[in-house]
Structure formats: C-alpha cells, structure tokens
Amino acid sequence: MSTEEGDRVELLQGTLDLLILQTLRQGAAHGHEIMQAIKRRSDAVLQVEQGSLYPALHRLIKRGWIGFDHGTSDNNRRAKYYRLTAKGRRQLAVETSKWERLARAMARVLRPA
C-alpha cells in the first residue's frame, strides 16, 4: 500500500471521471457509447481502457454525480443508459475549472515565457 501508487491511481481516476462527466453532458449514453465518444472527441489520443470504464461509472453513481435508466438503443435493443445528475453537472464545472488551472500551470512550467 504505497502512497505514490495510490496518488497515481487517483490522478487517472480523476481524469477519466472528468471525461465521462463531460461526455454525458451531451445526453444520456450507454457504456460503449461513452467509450466511443471519448475516443472520437480526443482524436483517438485518449484511449480509455475499456475495463476501467465500469468501475469509474459506478464510482460516479455512488457519489451521486450520474444516474442510470434502462432504455432501448437506436437499433431497438435494451441498454443501460447513464446520465448526468444536477449534482454531477455542478461537479463537472468544478472539475473542469480545476483541470484548466492545472493545465495552465503545467503549460507555464513546461514552456516558461
């Protein structure tokens, strides 16, 4: 139970969480759609490990940031749809600004003016 390893996991989780929340802002989606959307919107730079998507989804459900419904998909099949909750929407704003601050700071450090 080393701390460094824990911190790294935290970081990745946080990133994936942010990506999921951002994706669901466009509307409810099932797991596969979320994965595809992240891949597509990041020009395939961000490759979500498919297996880690589901624990992340459940973590977000547990925190109350996303909910889920059962619906039918475009080709008329049953599917579990994840959607953003009001709390999740607020959290997305917080996380986004946090991320942007971090990104700006990183940029300043890496490319000093």
């Binding site: 797991g31 973590r59 459900i61 579990k80």
Partner: protein, 878 residues
C-alpha cells in the same frame, strides 16, 4: 422511471455483455469475421472478472476491506511467530472459557426464566408476625388466612397451597417409595399448565374424602406406565389407599423441586375450633399476581385479610412467634428459590471476571513486547504514509484476531466445564438442570471475547503506534521510546498482582471458613453410624405399632455382628422431616412463656448410638417409657432460651406441659445438635420417651440410627430382610452412612471454595508468568547495560540483586494495592464466611506471603540469566 431505489449492481453482467456485443458488431462492420470480432472485443475489454470485481469493490465499504486486510496480515504474522500467538491465545481461551462456563452457571441458576408461565408473576405468599421470632424453617401461611383470602382475592388470582409428601406406591408395577407433592387444584393454574393427558384436579377434589385422585408427573408416567394414554383412569395404591389417575402434568414440570413423581390434591385442614382456639395449621402457598397488580398491592391485600380475622390465636403465635400485628409477605418465587445461592453465584462471577482481567493484562504485556520488537516495522509503515489511527486500527485488529481465536478455543473449555457442572456442583444448588451452553452463553462469550481483545489491545496499540513517521524513524528502537511502554508494562503487572492478591485473600477467607465449618461439632458423632428409615403403612401407622415394630427391629439389629448400639426416633439428624411443637412453659415469670422446640420421641439406645453429649442429668431409659411421670431431656439451646432464670434445670416439673393431666419432669440436658447439617444453627430441642402418652407427633417413620464397630455400610444389606420378616408392607429406605450425608451438607461451601481457590491459583499463575515475562524482557533489553556493569566489576550477586529488586519492587506494589482492595472486597464476603471476621489476620498475612513467594520464584530464571552473563559477549551485542 420507477421511484424505488435500484441496485446499480443488479444488471452489471448484462451491461458488460451489451458492451462486448456492441464492440463485436462494430468490429464486424469493419469487416472482421464474427469469431475474430468477438475475440478482439474481449481482448480490448480486458478481464471481465477483474472488472466485475473492481466494480463490486466500489460498493464495498472501505472498512470491511481494511479489516479483512488487517486480519489476514495479522494471521500471517502470527503464523510466522507462533509462540507469542499461542501463549496469548491459550491465556484468553482459558479466561473466556471459564468465564462462559461460570456465566452459564450463574445465568441458568439465577436468571433463566422459570420454564412455566410468566415466571416473574408467580409469587410465594406467607404470613409473619412483625418482630416475632418464628422458627418455621420455610415461609408459610396459616389455614384461616389462606381460606379467607381465597374467598375474595383481587391482587392475586389462583392462590394455591401445597405440601411435600412421600408415598409408598403399589399396584401396577413394583412397590416403591416416591417423592410427591400435595397441591391445591389452583396450583396448575398458577403456572398456566395444560395437562399432557387427562385433566388436572377439580376444586371439589380438594375436599377431605374426595381427594382419592392423582396427577402423574410426566417422567413418572413414562417410567412406570410407558407413557400409555390408558394410564389415565387406572388405580394405583399410595400408602395403602387406592387412588385414580386423572391426568398427567406436562413434560418438565415438577414442583417445588426436581423429581416429584406425582401430585395429590392438597386438602386445607379444617378450621374447626378446638377448646376455644381455632386449630392452626400452616403450609406453604403460592399465587399468581393478577394482571396489573404489584407485589406491594398483593401484600397490602393479604395483610388486610389476616388483620380482619382478629388478633392471632395463641397457636398462631406459637408458629409465627409472638410479636406485632400479623401481616402477609409476597415474594417472587424465582428470587426466593435462588436467594440462598445468590451470594455464592455472584462471588464466583466476580472472581472469574477478575481471572479474565489478569489474563488480559498478561496478553497486553505480550503485545507490548511485540510492539517494541516491531518498532522499526511500524516506523516504516508510518513513514510510508500510514496514519497513527490506521496503525492503531491494525494493532487492535491483531489483538481481536487473537481474542477471537481464543474465544473459539474457549468455547471448547466452556463446553467441557458446562457438561460437568451437574457432577461438580452440589445437588442442593437449585435449577442446575437449567445450566446449558446456549445462545445466551454464546452471546456472552462473544461479548467477553471482544472485551478481552480490546482490553488486551488498546494500551499496547496506543503505545506501539508511532506518533509520527519522523519521530518513529529517529527514535526506533532506542531505549527512550520504550520507557513509556515499560511504564505501562509495570502498571499492568502491578494491577495483575493486586487482582491475584484480592482473589488469594478472598479464597483464603473461604477456605478458612470452610475448615471451620467442617470442624463444627454437630452434637453427635456421625462416624460409624448407619441411618435408615422404615415407614409404617396407612392404617397401621399408630404409635403402638411404631413402638412395637421399632423394638422388634432394634432387637434384631443389635444382634447383628459389628453393631455396637442402635436406637430409633420419630426424627433424626439429617432426616428430611422435622416435628416442631409449641407449648406453654409456666415458669416463675408472671406471664407464661410460650416455648417452641423440635420434639423427638426416642427409644432407649438412640442417644448412645448417636453419642449425643450429656451435659447434666441422664438420658432416657426403658423405665421412662412406662413411668407415670413423663421424663424429658432438653438441649442447651432450650435451657438457655427458656430456662435461663438461674435456678437448677434438672428436676423441674410442669403439670400439663405436653398433654392435659400429665406431669413432665426435666431429667437431663444434652448438647446442641445441628439437625440440618454443618451450616445449621442450633434450635431448642426436647427428647421424650416412647410411652403411653403419645403426646408428640410420632409420625409414621421409624428413623433408625445404628452405630457399628466397622464400616457402617456393611450392615445396610441386612436391614431389608429383618424388616420384611417383621412387616412385609413397610419399606426400608433412605439408608445412608451418616458421615457422608453430614459432609454433603457443606457441599455448596465446598464447591464455592474449591472454585474460588482455583480462580486464585489461576490468577496467581498468570501474574507469575507476567512477572517472569516482564523481567526476562527487561534483562534482555538491559543486556548491554548489565554487561557494562559486569565489566566494571559488578559481582554476579549484584546483578542478581538488580533483577530481583526490580521484580520484588513491582510485586510489593501489587501486593500492597491488593491488600487494600481485598480489605474492601472481604466485607462483601461477610455473608459467605462462617465464624471468620472479614479482616481475618491469617488470610491477610498468608495470601500476600504466598504471592511474594511465587513472585520470587518468577524472578528466578531471569535472575539466573543475568548472573550467567558473559561481559565480553554482552558488550558485543547490539
């Protein structure tokens, strides 16, 4: 959407399957073959099992995870160093096991609800005269009071009287003598019973002449009638009188104690007046409190009833003692049943808890040693980010794991002990059959286990967990950080020693008291005496027949080889019947004294066979039986209570003392007899000769006492044939060696004393092990220091003295604290000790001395190790 809360885990598998199917379809759309597409999808997803696991972990509370992690870590580390774990586990197993066993004993005897009805509402009702000195052995009520109250009870319903009986049964099987109870029909309602077969008594069957019915106890129905339903309606013969079986009581019901074989109707003696005074008869009675009624209300109602009857008749004064106004007492039966053993049970409970406490202190010390030796490991954990709380939690988990293992092992100990309680505990302890290892006992064991784990673990965990990573790494494992832990160890040791001393002093008080009890003079010489009883049957039970049969039996018994002397009486020491008489003793005082005494009708030879002590005058002789003047021998207690006017006792004559028109003369004084055993108190007693007067109730039992030169049991086989020749219908029973019965009367005291002494030994042993452990640890911790001292010229004896001084210092502190605590505890034991003051000097000197000797012994090995120290080697050790 449905508003109900859905479990997000419900459709996890389906969700993942959907995902894989979509991925597969996309792969196919990209032109892959279906099989390859599915394989690629699975590859891209990774392990479904691991994912599922990870999702479930999201929903698992963190603490479960941590506890499981800590517990498995603890188990692994115990397996690596099993010595520590085994000692700690065995210590706690012993403590928890013995505690659970004692708990189930105390719970079963004192607290388990009575098996029938709403037990707390079943009460005993009895009568007393405020301030009067009643010498009735049990709480009883008079017939007038009972009848008057029964007419209009409000605070109680189902008022029931009873009397213990013994019958000779014949018809429908072998002749045998059985214990039974005569009960009011209402008694079955008091307990809310339903018959297992047939019916209970009708109220009309409790009238004289109509009482020719019986209800069988369930066990007896099984035993004698094989549980056949046609037993109801059959006739059996009790004491020569035919009786019809009308029903069977439910399984397990026996009253007032175990092994009552059947029930007969209790006929309340008639209230007919006899020469002006109402005839007073007393008997025990119970009732059920009416719904909503309290004990106080019932007492007020009963007292009002008895006072409405007017001033108590003289006969009632004789029974309840002359005193203030009559009143009624109401007590819950369960409390009353268990009251005699309550102090003993509570003492055992307290004692065994102390043993567990000592065990916990020892295990706590072990954990402290272990914590010290793991200081570096804990420091590293702290350095890599484990908080203090996290490490404390981990250490506590370890002690709980040890306690848990100890608890499981302890169940085996408890199970063995509980199974042997009925054999170990004296039969006089009520409700022993209620003692069992059940859910209540298991719940207790779980609580005890957790408590023991925390007690043993909290102090070590707090002391071993570093307060911060920096401090931990800097200090570990230097002597300064262990100083605090060392103080805790010493404090624990002082506590253990103190507790052990308290137990030692307490058990020493009990042992000394028990020795006193055994050394009491019962007033007769029980060694080499065989006691037996012959019961006259039915109509043959007359005083004349008694006298004739007794004389014939004694003639033959005296002729047996090995018999030195023999006699018979209407009652005998340690027999279960007692006849008490009351009479007016007209002395020189202005007011006639009302005397009460146990009245024995004795044959010649009785006093000799029992070796009663003659103080003055003479015992009764054959001539007294025929004399016109009734000769009477009184005991010392009688003389000191009733004949204490300083005038000579012998030769006093009383006209009409025991019967109208007969003069009684006191011809002798004998030493007090403890009729009911070694814990009995002396009561006034008189002996009269069997004569034509028939003044004192002689009963139907011929109580034989036979003194032998050899083993009294050797004479026993001859008795039945002697009696059968003389009267085939009279059973011989209760043939016992008197000394055995006498020593059994101290059985409860012996039991409690043995157990407490065992606890004390256990506690002392644990404390000694603890002292040994602390000293050994200190010697190894100070190895270098001792080496330096040796190198600088300290002699071996100096090194030994260093170690012993530390050990004795700790012990002395513990012993001093123990003596102070024991002085307080001893006061609580007052009711349990006999003729020993609570501050008995012998106990308070002997117990600490024993503790000191054991402490010295515990110092031995560490001191020897210190003396054998090689300075050069010691200085090289790190």
């Amino acid at each position: 959407m449905s508003p109900r809360r859905r479990d997000p885990l419900d459709d996890l598998d389906q969700d993942i399957r959907d995902h894989l199917r979509r991925e597969t379809e996309e792969n196919i759309a990209r032109g892959m073959m279906p099989a390859a597409a599915a394989a690629a999808a699975r590859r891209a997803f990774g392990s479904v099992a691991l994912t599922t696991e990870a999702v479930r972990a999201v929903w698992t509370p963190v603490w479960i995870d941590r506890v499981a992690q800590d517990a498995s870590y603890a188990v692994r580390s115990f397996v690596r160093a099993p010595g520590f774990a085994i000692v700690a586990m065995l210590t706690l197993a012993l403590g928890i096991g013995v505690n659970t066993a004692i708990f189930s004993l105390v719970y079963g005897v004192l607290m388990r609800p009575l098996p029938f009805g709403e037990s707390a509402r079943v009460v005993r009702v009895s009568e007393y005269h405020a301030g009067g000195r009643s010498t009735l052995r049990d709480a009883m009520i008079a017939n007038q009071t009972f009848e008057a109250w029964r007419r209009a009870p409000r605070a109680v319903d189902a008022l029931a009287a009873y009397a213990e009986r013994a019958y000779d049964v014949s018809g429908g099987g072998d002749a045998e003598r059985i214990r039974a109870t005569a009960v009011s029909p209402a008694l079955f309602r008091v307990f809310g019973l339903t018959p297992a077969a047939g019916r209970f008594f009708d109220d009309r069957e409790a009238l004289a002449g109509a009482d020719t019915v019986i209800v069988l106890a369930y066990g007896y129905w099984q035993q004698r009638f094989g549980g056949r339903s046609d037993a109801v309606g059959r006739t059996i013969v009790l004491d020569g009188q035919p009786r019809v079986i009308v029903g069977v009581a439910p399984a397990g019901f026996s009253f007032p104690d175990r092994d009552r074989r059947l029930f007969t109707p209790f006929v309340v003696p008639r209230l007919q007046t006899d020469a002006g005074d109402p005839q007073v008869r007393v008997f025990p009675a119970i009732a059920r409190l009416a719904p909503g009624a309290t004990i106080a209300q019932a007492e007020a109602e009963g007292t009002a009833v008895v006072r409405a009857l007017g001033p108590p008749p003289i006969a009632a004064d004789l029974l309840f003692g002359k005193g203030g106004a009559a009143a009624v007492r109401v007590r819950a039966v369960i409390d009353e049943l268990t009251a005699p053993v309550r102090p003993m049970m509570l003492m055992l409970g307290a004692g065994v808890v102390l043993v567990l406490l000592v065990g916990c202190a020892n295990v706590a010390n072990l954990f402290l040693f272990r914590g010290a030796s793991r200081a570096r490991e804990l420091a590293i954990r702290s350095a890599i980010g484990a908080g203090r709380a996290r490490i404390v939690q981990q250490l506590l988990t370890e002690s709980l794991v040890i306690a848990g293992a100890g608890g499981i092992l302890g169940m085996l100990v408890a199970w063995r002990l509980i199974a042997s309680w009925p054999a170990l505990a004296p039969r006089s302890v009520p409700r022993l059959d209620q003692v069992q290892l059940d859910w209540t006992a298991l719940a207790f064991a779980v609580v005890a286990t957790v408590a023991a784990g925390l007690l043993a673990g909290v102090a070590p965990a707090l002391h071993s967990a570093p307060s911060g990573p920096a401090a931990a790494l800097r200090e570990a494992p230097g002597p300064s950080s262990t100083r605090a832990a060392s103080r805790v160890r010493q404090a624990l040791l002082v506590l253990e020693t103190a507790v052990a001393v308290v137990l030692l002093v307490s058990s020493s008080l009990l042992v000394r008291s028990f020795v006193r009890v055994l050394a009491r003079n019962p007033g007769y010489d029980a060694s080499h005496v065989l006691a037996s009883r012959v019961s006259l049957q039915g109509g043959a039970a007359t005083a004349a027949r008694w006298q004739q049969l007794a004389a014939a039996i004694l003639d033959r018994v005296r002729a047996l080889p090995g018999v030195e002397s023999a006699g018979a009486a209407s009652m005998a020491p340690l027999g279960d019947s007692t006849f008490t008489i009351g009479f007016r003793l007209a002395g020189d005082r202005a007011e006639p004294v009302i005397a009460r005494a146990r009245g024995y009708v004795v044959t010649p030879g009785y006093a000799e066979a029992l070796r009663l002590r003659l103080i003055q005058g003479r015992f009764l002789t054959a001539a007294d039986a025929a004399s016109a003047i009734e000769a009477m021998v009184v005991n010392e207690q009688f003389a000191s209570i009733y004949l204490n006017d300083g005038k000579p006792i012998l030769g006093r004559r009383y006209a009409g003392l025991l019967a109208p028109g007969v003069t009684t003369e006191i011809v002798g004084v004998f030493g007090n007899v403890l009729k009911n055993g070694l814990l009995d108190a002396p009561e006034p007693e008189i002996l009269v000769a069997l004569g034509n007067h028939g003044l004192i109730n002689i009963g139907r039992d011929i109580n034989l006492v036979i003194r032998t030169s050899g083993d009294p049991a050797a004479v026993a086989p001859a008795l039945p044939s002697i009696v059968r020749d003389l009267d085939p219908g009279a059973p011989v029973h209760n043939t016992t060696v008197l000394a055995t019965v006498l020593s059994a009367t101290a059985g409860e005291t012996r039991f409690a004393t043995t157990l407490l002494a065992g606890f004390a030994a256990l506690a002392l042993g644990l404390a000694a092990v603890g002292l040994y452990g602390v000293l050994s640890y200190d010697v190894s911790r100070r190895w270098r220091e001792l080496g330096v001292r040796a190198a600088l010229g300290a002699t071996r004896s100096r090194l030994v003295a260093l170690v012993v001084a530390e050990g004795l210092g700790l012990s002395a502190a513990g012993i001093a604290a123990g003596i102070a605590a024991a002085a307080g505890v001893a006061r609580l034991l007052r009711t349990l000790v006999f003729e020993i003051g609570p501050l008995d000097p012998v106990s308070f000197v002997a117990a600490p001395a024993i503790a000191l000797i054991v402490a010295l012994a515990a110092c031995g090995i560490p001191a020897w190790r210190a003396s054998a120290l090689d300075p050069a080697a010691a200085l090289r050790t790190e």
